[in-house]
Each structure stands twice: as C-alpha cells, then as structure tokens.
C-alpha cells in the first residue's frame, strides 16, 4: 500500500542514473530488408513513377510536433458526414494534453462539455501518430456500451468490451468496467500488460487510496493516462490530492506537505493561486460560459389540478404515511418514503406497495387494514390528471418527446394511455439489456412512427439523445442530481436546437414545494448542467436530499408547516450557493 509510513531514503538510490545508466536511443529496424531482397531476386520490379510516388506519399505522411493535431484533419470528412463538431474548448484541451501535459491529465470539464469526445480525440491523435497501439478504457459498467458506440461512431476506433480472461491477451483496444477488470483473474492479466494509454471514466470514484479501485488503477503499467471526472473535488481536499497522486505522484508533494501548505481544514484551501497553478499543470477544467455554446433552454412548470378523488386519496395516503413514520420514528421507513414518492407520480405506482403493505402479516409501521382500505380506494382511480396534460403537450409538438418517470408502473400507464390516444411509444428502462437499449435508441431516432419514448431513470442513465429536444418530467425525482441527469440527456453539447422541458406537478402536494425549491432557490433550471451537484452534496452532509425532503414532509402536520419547512431549506441552499462561489472556485 502506498500510503504507509515507510521511509524510503535508506533503501532506494536517490538518482535515476544509478537505476538506469543509459539514456541512449535504441535503434530498431522495423521491417526486415528480406522482403525487398526477395522481390529483387524474383525480379518483381515496379515502375520508376510508382517508386517516386511511394516516396512522395511517405513525405506527405511524415509526422512532426504536436503543433497541428492530426485528428482534426484525419476525421474532418467523417465528422462532416456524421454531424460531429469538435468545439474550440475541446480542441484546446486536446492540444494542451498532448503538447504540454505529456499525455497525462485529469479532464475535469463540467457535465455536458464533452469529456468523452476530448478523451477520444486525444486517443485518436496518439493512435494516428503511432504512439498508442494498445489501450484500456475503464468505465462504470453502465457506460461501457456508450463508450463503445462513441469510439466507433465518432472516431472509428473498434474497441472490444473485455469480459473474459482470454480477451486481455488477445486484443489491443480494450474497454471494460472497472469491476470486471479488477476481478482477480482479470487483474493479473491486466497488471502483466503494458498499455500505451489508460483512460478511466468517472474517476471521482478513485478518490480514496485505500480502495481496491485506486490501488488497481495505480498498479497498471501505462504510458499515457487520462482521468475523466466532472467532480474532482466533492467533500475533502484529500480526494483531489489522491486523484492527482494517481496521475502524477509528487505533483503536490507529499500529503503532509500538501496538507500544511495548501489546506486549512478539510474543505478550505490556502495558498490558492499557487495550488491552482500546480493543478493546472495536470488538470483541465472547462466550465460552462460564454465561450461554450449551449442552446437555449425553455423550462415550463405546469401545475396539474387533481380530481376530487385523487386529492382525497393523496391526503389520506400522506396522513397514513405520516402516522407510520411518526410511530416508527423514521426507522424502517423506506417503504413509506417510496409510497410517498409513488403517490406523487401516479396512483398506479402506489397500488403495488399498498397491496404489499396490506398483505403484511406483522403489524409494523402501518396497519395492514388501513393499507388494504387505501389499496381499494387507489384501485378505484382509473385516470390520473397529469395524463391529460401529457396528451395535450404531445399533440402540440411535432418533435420527438421523451417522457421521464421514476416508476415502471407509471411508465406502463403512460404508454397505455398514449396508445389509446393514438401515439406509439417506446419503453426504455433498466430491465433492457445493453444491446436492446441501443436498438430502442436507434428505433426512436430513425423511425418516425415512434415519436415518444417513455424512460425510467435507471434506463436513461448515461444515454445521449441530442437528436431530441423536448422532455416531459411526468414526476419529479426528489434528488435534484437525478433531475439534472435527465435534462443532461438532451441538453448537452451537440444539441443544435432549443430545448423544451415541461415539469408536471400536482398542486398543493410535495411536488409543488419541490419544484419551487428547485427552480427558485437552487435555480437549477437556470444553471447549466453540473453546477448544483456540489452544493447539494454539501447541503445534505451525508444525509440524502430525499431524506431531508421526507423529514420535512413527515414532520409537518399542515400545509403551512410544510411550506415553512421548504422555505427554511430554501434559505439554507441560498446561503450555501453564496458560500460555494467563494470556496472551490478559488482553485478549480
């Protein structure tokens, strides 16, 4: 383990010269002259013109310094045909990484600015120059397919998603989930291989030196190394130190040195300008701003007036949940939390949970009889008011529409109702296999009859749907990060049109408070993608944002109290936002 308190001074020679005495160039003949001899002996002479042309071709293909990026000219036609546009900030990033950072960098652009494209461009640049012949990309499992598609569709790099032990030794362009790669059998194969380039996506997961992931990635032998993360700094400055140590040990000195010189406690940096300089040598962080063009985003929060039956059901269920929560003091309240979120989504989502509660043998947080009554009542609701609004919106727009919901039951209800209204839709959820997801995405993009895709969050994670510009949030996730991720599916670089987002909420429910909090206090719809993540993580301090909301809902006995609770939370967020602008921004 590299963080132990061991002194090396007595064991390791201090000068590299003692370890590697020579730095003289080694000369290798890449191709044997036998093939030429053979041709000469066989008298397979070609013409003088083709000889000259061969030489002229070699002259034209000579590579020089990194002043001009080969990837731009090499891919220009392909990109033109496929509508890929490299943005100036991406080109600058690639130039800086290859010419100044020697191919080792943390790409820490904010979400949606195209870190994957930057990494792909860097990889392709090195490949075109013949400096990378074997590479490994490590990503979360959910993003493997997307990486594979991006590399293939945007850079014509055929990559293998490695799963078996056999793959490591037999393929040069490898992509794997970090969990697969670190399995013992695979791990040894990988550690025995030298990679010209290693890319790790979502590198913030490597923030602790004690984790298997960090140690595994640290041990991989590599020449060029890219770490991709939108949040290099989340809670503690040590995370940043660990990440940089993984990339370039010693860039920030020893941890003791770093701690003494650059930190005032866990979260507050000191000597910020100096630290920023050091960071800029290994990290590039492009931020959303005037130079980086995002299309305009139109957000409309649409209040939905519930029917009498829905209103009554909502009131009864909330009071049922509140009672259960208070009786257990929040312990084992997860089903209640789910139920509260479900009823905000649709009555159909709540039915199953209520049924399970009514079937419970032991009386726990809630009474099964009461749950059974509510189950019967819920079953009687055959239509949800939100759906009328959805139909109206879908009719109004000629564009392709994505509808997001949190629950499978709601997804199913939406699709059924759309079908009844004469709209064909596609379902996209976590149960689909990776290839099925790709196929569904393809169908949605290319088949005009499928104008609507109904997504659940687990399904929509990480997919890019820039070809679509309209999104309906049928329900609102209680975690703003998830809402941000939803929006990020369509509102990202590469989106050429204005984006329309419709948030549906039922009046006088938690949803209304939540939407006001997010739009007025967090201002997340005005912010560009990626801004509020850090603030939210600070706000929650270990507790989930959903937990905070649930606490508020459960501890408020009246609408007035709920309103006050949300107002208080809003004030906290405002304060955090003000503080935040002066904290990490000094160094990032």
């Amino acid at each position: 383990m590299e963080t132990s308190n061991i002194q090396l001074a007595n064991t390791v020679p201090k000068s590299i010269g003692k370890i590697f005495p020579s730095f003289e160039p080694e000369i290798q003949l890449a191709n044997d002259f036998s093939e030429f001899l053979l041709k000469m002996r066989r008298k397979q002479w070609d013409t003088w013109d083709s000889f000259l042309l061969n030489y002229r071709g070699e002259e034209l293909s000579l590579t020089g310094g990194f002043d001009d990026l080969l990837v731009l000219s090499h891919m220009q036609e392909f990109w033109r045909q496929n509508g890929v546009v490299p943005y100036p900030h991406q080109i600058e990033t690639v130039k800086k990484v290859v010419s100044q950072m020697r191919g080792r960098a943390i790409l820490a652009d904010e979400v949606g600015l195209g870190k994957t494209i930057e990494a792909g461009m860097i990889l392709k640049e090195y490949m075109l120059r013949g400096l990378v012949k074997r590479f490994l990309i490590l990503t979360p499992a959910a993003l493997c397919r997307q990486w594979e598609a991006e590399l293939s569709e945007k850079f014509t790099i055929p990559v293998l998603i490695a799963r078996r032990q056999y793959d490591w030794g037999h393929y040069d362009f490898l992509l794997a989930s970090i969990d697969t790669a670190k399995k013992e059998a695979n791990r040894q194969e990988i550690l025995n291989t030298y990679f010209d380039m290693v890319i790790v996506d979502e590198a913030h997961k490597l923030k602790s030196t004690g984790t298997q992931n960090w140690q595994f990635v640290n041990e991989i032998q590599k020449k060029y190394f890219l770490l991709l993360t939108a949040t290099p700094l989340q809670n503690d400055l040590k995370e940043l130190f660990n990440l940089i140590t993984l990339l370039r040990p010693g860039q920030l000195g020893s941890y003791r040195h770093f701690k003494n010189k650059y930190t005032k406690g866990k979260r507050t940096p000191q000597n910020a300008p100096e630290l920023r300089n050091l960071l800029s040598e290994v990290m590039i962080r492009n931020k959303h701003g005037a130079n980086i063009g995002f299309t305009k985003r139109h957000v409309q929060n649409i209040p939905v007036i519930p029917s009498e039956m829905e209103r009554s059901l909502y009131e009864q269920l909330t009071s049922f949940i509140r009672k259960g929560f208070q009786s257990t003091k929040g312990i084992g309240a997860l089903p209640l939390l789910t139920l509260q979120r479900e009823i905000c989504s649709s009555t159909f989502a709540a039915v199953l949970t209520l049924f399970k509660m009514s079937q419970a043998v032991n009386e726990g947080a809630v009474s099964p009889e009461e749950a059974a009554d509510l189950f019967t009542l819920t079953q009687q609701v055959k239509e949800n008011s939100k759906m009328r609004v959805v139909e109206e919106l879908v009719r109004k727009t000629p564009e392709k529409v994505i509808i997001f919901t949190e629950f499978l039951a709601t997804q199913s209800y939406i699709r059924t109702r759309l079908e009844q209204a004469g709209f064909l839709s596609l379902a996209f959820d976590g149960s689909l296999s990776a290839s099925r997801k790709e196929f569904t995405k393809y169908e949605f993009k290319h088949r005009p009859e499928y104008r609507i895709m109904v997504c659940t969050e687990s399904g929509g994670e990480g997919i890019n749907l820039q070809f679509c510009n309209t999104m309906i949030n049928y329900d609102l996730p209680w975690n703003p990060m998830r809402l941000e991720q939803r929006i990020g599916r369509i509102h990202r670089l590469g989106q050429t049109r204005e984006v329309f987002i419709y948030n549906l909420f039922i009046q006088n429910t938690v949803e209304e408070h939540l939407i006001r909090l997010l739009s007025e206090k967090v201002k997340m719809f005005e912010m560009v993608i990626g801004e509020c993540e850090r603030v939210i993580s600070k706000l929650t301090m270990g507790k989930s944002f959903e937990g905070r909301i649930m606490e508020l809902v459960m501890n408020s006995v009246s609408h007035e109290e709920l309103h006050q609770g949300f107002a208080q939370l809003g004030r906290e967020i405002e304060t955090l936002l003000e503080d935040d602008s002066s904290e990490w921004s000094e160094i990032l």
């Binding site: 002194q7 201090k14 590299i16 080694e26 890449a30 000469m40 061969n54 071709g57 400096l131 040990p249």
Partner: protein, 341 residues
C-alpha cells in the same frame, strides 16, 4: 493554390494515374475519380471489388464551389487512404539513367571541373554503367513524443562508395527500364548492400542532433524528481518499526516506487525505429578517359580519368591495369560483340 495543397493535388492525380483509375481534373481544383476498392470478407459477405466514386478538392473554400466534394488535406483520412494504397507499389524498382556519349561536351565539362588547364590529350572515352543500390528509409524518433524523417542512401555495388544524394540528383531525369549494354559487374551483393546502408544509417543516426534525446531526458528527470519528492517525503515520518507489518509495507512501497520509475523510464526512453520504404537498383553511367600527357617522356603515364556525368564529378583512377575494362561483365561484352557483328 497553396504549395501544400498543390503538392497533395499532384500526388492524388499521379496516384490515380499509377493506379490506372479513370479520373478528371477540373481547373486544377477538383478531382473526380473512379477507384476500384477491395472490400474484405466480412461475416455475411464474401470479399469483393467495388467501384467507388471520389470527388476531391484540396482547399477548404472549394467545398462550397463543388458541393459534395471531399476535402483532402495533409493528415486527412482520404490522403492516408491513397498513401496506404501506394505503399503497396513502387517497393523495388530497376532503372537506368541513359547517357548520350558526346566527347566534346564531356571534355568541356571535365575542363571546367579541373582546377588547372589540362596538360594532356583526351583519348577515346569509354562509357560504362555501374550498379547502385538506393534505399529510402523512414526514421521515427520516439520518446513520449515522435517525429519522423526520411533518409535516402545509396551504395555503389562495385566500389562500395556510399552517398546520400542520389535520389535528389535523379529527380527530373529520365529513367529507362532497359538494362545498359556495358555494365560493370557488381562486387557487392544486394544483401551486403542493404546491410552496409543500414549500418551507415545507424552511424548517421548516432551522430544525429541529440536535442530530442536531451529534452526527453529532462522531461524524464522532472518526472523522476516528482516521484522522489513523493516517495521520500511522503513517508518522511519516522518509520513505525514496531508495526507488525512494517517490512511488508516497506516492500510494497519500494515496489510501488520502482514500478513508477520503470513506467516513467519506459515512457521517455528514446527509440529510433527505422523502416525501409523502398529500394531501387540503378545503373548509372561513368565515362573513363585514358589521357596522354603533352610531354610524353616526362615521368610515369597518367592514370585514367573518371567522369561521373550525373554528379558532375571527376576523379583519377590509379589502377594501371584498367580494372574497369576487366570488370565489365562478360555478358555485356558478349552482347557488344554480337551487336558489332
């Protein structure tokens, strides 16, 4: 048209010519061509040949003028496609630089090359051809960065003389494919020629400008100093000797340090990769004069005067036994006799 785009346009046009593909060049701006493409076998389909229509321009602003055209610039995919294609061609070539023997003209040239006014008479000149092996090398200088250079070296297969400017000297000259009649027999085999050129190139590269190595060394040392600062100072606190796993931890830290050092060294280690692009066997003319001094009785007879018309060089050949004539291949002599007969 800028110089670069002109070069590329010319290259494309010549490649199409060599490949025998039908093409049309419009105003020196647009190239329209039909190329046959070998499509390799895929899982469902057999290998086959397809016709591909290309419409290429070499300057960006022409894309608007010729909609649907493809921009071909340095580093572009299409240019690389042509280069990869042409790499299969022109690998070995045999040619003769034919020279018309014109004694007056040659004598004028020789006189111009001599420092002093010649004190001898020119006898009848003898035109013979010598075989030379020319090899073009592509040399890649690699550290964590890379740049490439082309080297063109040639060796005289009779006397082993190595030069590096033959390729440039042959530019623009008419090279024929038929073998010359008076050909001097080679004393060096092709293999020996290749080896000699390779060794000579290695010698040149050893004396090559070392800046690229030195700057890589500086970068490497900078990285190493970072590593040292981390590994020495990160663990600067007193070793916890009493900890039970102290030795194991020490070994792990050491291993980590050495692994990083090795990784860094491998990244910056300078490497020169030599690749042979193509090779040619040339028959180049030389003219031998036997000269007669004005004052016949004074001293020893003069050696033969050798004139190289391609390089415009003269030298004295001191071997009295006329080795050139001796070494003219029997085959050539026989051919000559037959012609005379």
């Amino acid at each position: 048209m800028s110089e670069n785009s002109q070069v590329i346009f010319g290259f494309l046009e010549d490649s199409l010519k060599v490949a025998g593909s039908p093409y049309t060049a419009i105003n020196g701006e647009l190239l329209m061509a039909q190329c046959q493409v070998q499509v390799p076998r895929s899982f469902f389909r057999p290998a086959r040949t397809e016709i591909m229509n290309l419409q290429m321009v070499c300057r960006p602003h022409l894309l608007e003028k010729y909609p649907g055209s493809e921009l071909v610039t340095k580093g572009s995919y299409r240019l690389q496609w042509f280069i990869d294609g042409i790499r299969e061609r022109g690998l070995v070539v045999k040619g003769t630089y034919h020279y018309e023997l014109d004694p007056r003209k040659i004598q004028r040239e020789i006189k111009a090359l001599l420092k002093d006014t010649p004190q001898f008479f020119f006898e009848q000149p003898l035109l013979i051809y010598q075989p030379l092996l020319l090899v073009n090398f592509k040399v890649a200088f690699e550290t964590d960065e890379k740049f490439e250079e082309l080297y063109s070296l040639d060796i005289n297969l009779v006397n082993g003389e190595i030069n590096h400017n033959l390729f440039a000297q042959l530019a623009g000259k008419k090279i024929g494919s038929e073998k010359p009649r008076k050909l001097e027999k080679r004393k060096i085999s092709y293999r020996e020629g290749f080896e000699a050129l390779y060794n000579h190139l290695k010698w040149i590269l050893k004396n090559h400008d070392h800046d690229w190595v030195n700057s890589a060394k500086i970068r490497c040392e900078e990285e190493i100093s970072h590593l040292e600062s981390y590994y020495y100072n990160h663990h600067e606190s007193h070793p916890a000797q009493r900890e039970p796993d102290y030795h194991q931890q020490k070994n792990e830290v050491e291993a980590g340090f050495y692994r990083r050092i090795a990784e860094t060294y491998r990244k910056f280690q300078p490497m020169i990769r030599i690749q042979i692009c193509n090779a040619a066997l040339f028959y180049l003319p030389i003219i031998r004069y036997t000269v007669e001094p004005f004052n016949h009785t004074a001293g020893e007879p003069l050696p033969s005067l050798i004139f190289d018309p391609l390089r415009h060089k003269i030298r004295w050949y001191h071997n009295i036994t006329n080795p050139l004539e001796e070494s003219i291949s029997r085959k050539s002599a026989e051919t000559e006799r037959k012609t005379k007969a």
